[in-house]
């Protein structure tokens, strides 16, 4: 018999890929580490992150960020879809993504002067590679799950002793840092031609930190810093299914349907309250916490690729927060605060236009993306009032001289909340800068 021996070996390019992979892994854990401690590089963001586990953050891919935050059923050769693990089955090349986000926020409330806040942080590191090209794919991601970043400055005067009529000025800053981070590993598998399944394991961990800093203009009063830190960790699992059909309505089109289901889980950890700064820190209390719920969630998504240059997407997400019961005393949660849990809904849609082969002109290879979204927050400080976010997104994906590598710049402009019922409306502008590196990692060569 005449057997052809085939084995997979690294090519010359693969050594570069190895270096990129090594860099990616280092950055992956560096990001995870930084986010598990004192978290993001800025403490400025929405006051709504004061409640619950913080502001929910979604980032499944650079492309998704520009198309309303969805596009979870969409696949293409130029980007990996990490939202649905089943879609990983379709990847054929190694990909690495680093995402940075800068945010400018204006918060307004009736009777208050507007607060202008800004922040920037490394948002995600992602990598994916095929085990069997087009059939089995692996994805590793490090992204935020929630983000806590609020900053409120108060000043005034208080009566130094009841009834004495002497008032002393003070300044008080309340801010929050940290949030939960999610490290995920996922695998997608295509058992048949048009159907894929996938599973993802998430490690969710992080520190929720609230800080109260009070200062006085008098040496007779000690300034004070009180920090409440809650370290939490837990695991979660997500299942995905993905169906695609080409030549759906015409020769050049295709339709993609996806669904995911994330099982509920709970987080455990420790809550520590300290006072003081630096080496003069006293621990006021330290208690174990458990049963901090992460809800059941699911998504449905559809993408219609009209041609190689136009794709339309529509996505919906549900998270069942109203059924979450947190155990024990935790001031951030509904049981112990004014906040109220409710189910989260997110609906988004968008379009991607452009794209072409390397042989085509640069302008034709540029991808343009637009999207809209509506997001009802899982928590509200005012019972009966929803905290909704509405926004428009846009993005441009610029090919580079390296085949498979793009630089994506995304924009998100929108608002959250309302000024009614004593609430706050945030108007924000987000700029995402993403580097998507991709190249064929392994190639098959004939031996003998």
């Amino acid at each position: 018999m005449n057997h052809k021996r085939v084995m997979t070996i690294p090519s010359g390019t693969d050594y570069r890929a190895g270096r990129i992979l090594l860099l990616g892994i280092i950055l992956f854990f560096a990001t995870a580490h930084s986010n598990s401690g004192y978290a993001q590089s800025s403490t400025q963001g929405t006051i709504y992150s004061r409640f619950g586990l913080g502001e929910r953050v979604d980032f499944s891919s650079s492309r998704s960020q520009a198309i309303g935050g969805g596009a979870w059923a969409f696949r293409s050769a130029d980007a990996t879809n990490y939202a649905n693990p089943a879609v990983l089955s379709d990847i054929v090349i190694f990909r690495f993504t680093a995402a940075v986000e800068l945010q400018s926020l204006t918060s307004e409330a009736t009777g208050f002067e507007d607060s202008k806040l800004s922040a920037g942080y490394l948002k995600a590191l992602q990598l994916s590679f095929p085990l069997v090209a087009g059939k089995v794919g692996i994805g590793l991601t490090s992204t935020p799950y929630t983000r806590i970043a609020y900053h409120v400055e108060q000043s005034g005067s208080f009566e130094t002793e009841p009834g004495d009529g002497n008032f002393l000025p003070f300044g008080s800053t309340s801010n929050g840092n940290g949030g939960l981070h999610r490290i995920s590993s996922a695998i997608g598998y295509a058992p048949v031609k048009n159907l894929s399944i996938g599973v993802r394991a998430d490690i969710i961990f992080g520190i929720l930190e609230d800080v109260q800093d009070t200062s006085f203009g008098s040496p007779f009063f000690d300034d004070g810093l009180l920090t409440e830190s809650t370290r939490l960790a837990g695991v979660s699992g997500t299942f995905g299914i993905w169906y695609r059909k080409t030549r759906f309505l015409s020769q050049g089109d295709g339709i993609y349907l996806g669904a995911t289901l994330t099982l509920p889980s709970s987080l455990t950890g420790e809550r520590i309250v300290t006072t003081g700064r630096g080496e003069l820190i006293d621990t006021l209390s330290s208690v174990n916490v458990s049963g901090i719920g992460i809800p059941l969630s699911g998504s449905l998504s559809i993408a219609y690729q009209k041609s190689s240059r136009i794709t339309l997407v529509l996505d919906a997400l549900y998270e069942g927060w109203s059924k979450v019961n947190n155990e024990g005393s935790f001031r951030r949660f509904p049981e112990n605060s004014i906040a109220d849990y409710r189910d989260r809904y997110r609906i988004s849609g968008g379009v991607q236009y452009g794209g072409g082969s390397p042989n085509e002109s640069y302008s034709r290879r540029v991808l343009l993306r637009f999207g809209v979204y509506f997001d009802r927050s899982y928590i509200s400080p005012a019972v009966g009032t929803d905290i909704n976010s509405r926004g428009l997104t846009a993005g441009i994906s610029l090919p580079t001289v390296f085949s498979g590598t793009t630089v994506d710049m995304n924009f998100d402009i929108g608002q959250t909340g309302t000024t009614e019922n004593g609430l706050v409306r945030d108007r924000y502008f987000k700029f995402g800068f993403n580097l998507n590196f991709g190249e064929r990692w392994f190639r098959r060569v004939k031996l003998g």
């Binding site: 570069r16 270096r19 800025s42 400025q44 006051i47 004061r50 680093a98 940075v100 800068l102 400018s104 918060s107 307004e108 409330a109 208050f112 002067e113 507007d114 607060s115 202008k116 800004s118 922040a119 920037g120 942080y121 490394l122 609020y150 409120v152 400055e153 108060q154 005034g156 208080f158 009566e159 130094t160 002793e161 009841p162 008080s172 309340s174 609230d210 109260q212 009070t214 006085f216 007779f220 009063f221 000690d222 300034d223 004070g224 810093l225 009180l226 006293d282 621990t283 006021l284 605060s337 004014i338 400080p381 580079t400 001289v401 390296f402 004593g422 609430l423 706050v424 580097l435 590196f437």
Partner: protein, 389 residues
């Protein structure tokens, strides 16, 4: 190589861009969102913590001292205070040589013994003369840390002393027979071990006088030489037959009822336990309502100590000293007071038990009537705290 170089530039550019933007963003935080924080949070507030107990301790006061340490004077006399009861004071003093004595002093019999008493304190009837009996103390006695209920062995009377109420420095020549009887001891190198001082007790009068160590001396003279002995020890033995203080007032009297145990229940206010910015313990002097006959002097306490009572009941840690303000307030304020309260809240100290007392060095019978725990101005701690948002 060329591709790797380009990638490095690309990554470098990415992070450089990030570093450029991170600190470059302009921010102007305000108080937007304050309404969504804890309504109790953010703003400092001064809360009043009443004492959970405020009671005199039954232990006798420390009335002994060496002059520089502990009590500074010895009290002697008897006074029947129509408002507060009968107090009997026995004052004990001892002397020590100030310089080495000459050979001539040691080898020549004494020709003179003169006692100088620095009288700087008076409690009682200022219109009558006080007569004290001075007796030898015949056994060794200790002063430092000794309380008012101690006993001292007394021998023969030496002499009687007539003391006018306004007297300040009094000099008495000791009797010749006493000099002859003690001549050898007074000139010996073992003076400290063999001579034990004098005790003063009341024979008549209605007052207690204080003999301060500062200028009280025993002068011994031989022909051609003189030696001065300074007061080295004082101890007041005090007995009191108490009368109840006026209703609504709590009596502190130095020497007899000077130590009051104070306890706070820090758990009664939910705000306590967060940031403590300042702590003051305050007591208010009561309006004088005591029956005071004409010419009767009853000095008032002008300063008090606040001490933390450690787990060792004999050990006190001085927290703060307060002097009376013009409106009769004693305010104890020190960072140590705040630290101790924090320690109690942290659980590293078991209980917030304090003691207010008259400084031992004062060594008087001064009194202070303070508003008790049921009055409108009870003893209380004022804590300035901030609840976390």
């Amino acid at each position: 190589m060329r591709v790797g170089s380009h990638l490095s530039r690309l990554f470098g550019g990415l992070f450089f861009l990030g570093l450029f933007f991170f600190p470059g963003c302009d921010s102007t935080p305000t108080d937007v969102g304050a309404d969504l924080l804890d309504p109790k949070g953010g703003e400092p507030v001064t809360i009043t913590i009443p004492t959970s107990s405020f009671k005199n301790q039954n232990d006798p006061d420390i009335t002994g001292g060496s002059g520089e340490v502990g009590a500074s004077r010895a009290l002697a006399g008897v006074v029947n205070d129509p408002a507060l009861g009968l107090i009997v004071a026995k004052g004990n003093i001892d002397f020590a040589p100030t310089v080495s004595r000459s050979d001539k002093f040691a080898s020549t019999s004494l020709s003179l013994a003169e006692l100088t008493l620095d009288l700087d304190y008076f409690y009682g009837d200022t219109l009558t003369t006080v007569t004290l009996l001075m007796s030898d103390i015949v056994d060794n006695w200790t002063a430092l840390g000794v309380s008012a209920d101690t006993s001292v062995q007394v021998g023969d009377p030496v002499m009687e002393l007539q003391i006018e109420p306004r007297s300040q420095i009094l000099r008495f020549d000791l009797p010749e027979e006493w000099i002859l009887r003690n001549d050898v001891v007074l000139r010996s190198e073992n003076f400290l071990a063999d001579f034990h001082g004098f005790q003063f007790t009341a024979l008549s009068g209605n007052a207690v006088i204080g003999i301060h160590h500062r200028a009280s001396t025993l002068k011994l003279a031989v022909p051609g030489d003189t030696a001065i002995f300074a007061m080295s020890k004082v101890l007041s033995l005090l007995e009191k037959t108490r009368l109840d203080p006026p209703e609504g007032k709590h009596l502190i009297q130095d020497g007899t009822d000077s130590r009051v145990e104070v306890n706070f229940d820090l758990g009664i206010d939910p705000l306590v336990g967060n940031l403590i910015h300042r702590s003051i313990f305050r007591i208010t002097a009561g309006t004088p309502t005591l029956e005071t006959p004409f010419g009767f002097s009853r000095p008032e306490i002008t300063r008090l100590n606040l001490a933390f009572v450690t787990e060792d009941p004999k050990l006190r840690v001085l927290v703060a000293t307060a002097r009376a303000s013009e409106d009769g307030l004693f305010s104890f304020e020190d960072g140590l007071f705040t630290d101790i309260l924090k320690r109690v809240l942290l659980g590293s100290l078991n209980d917030a038990v304090f003691e207010i007392s008259v400084p031992i060095s004062d060594a008087t019978l001064d009194i202070l009537l303070i508003q008790d725990t049921l009055s409108a101005s009870p003893p209380r701690a004022l804590l300035t705290v901030t609840n976390i948002n």
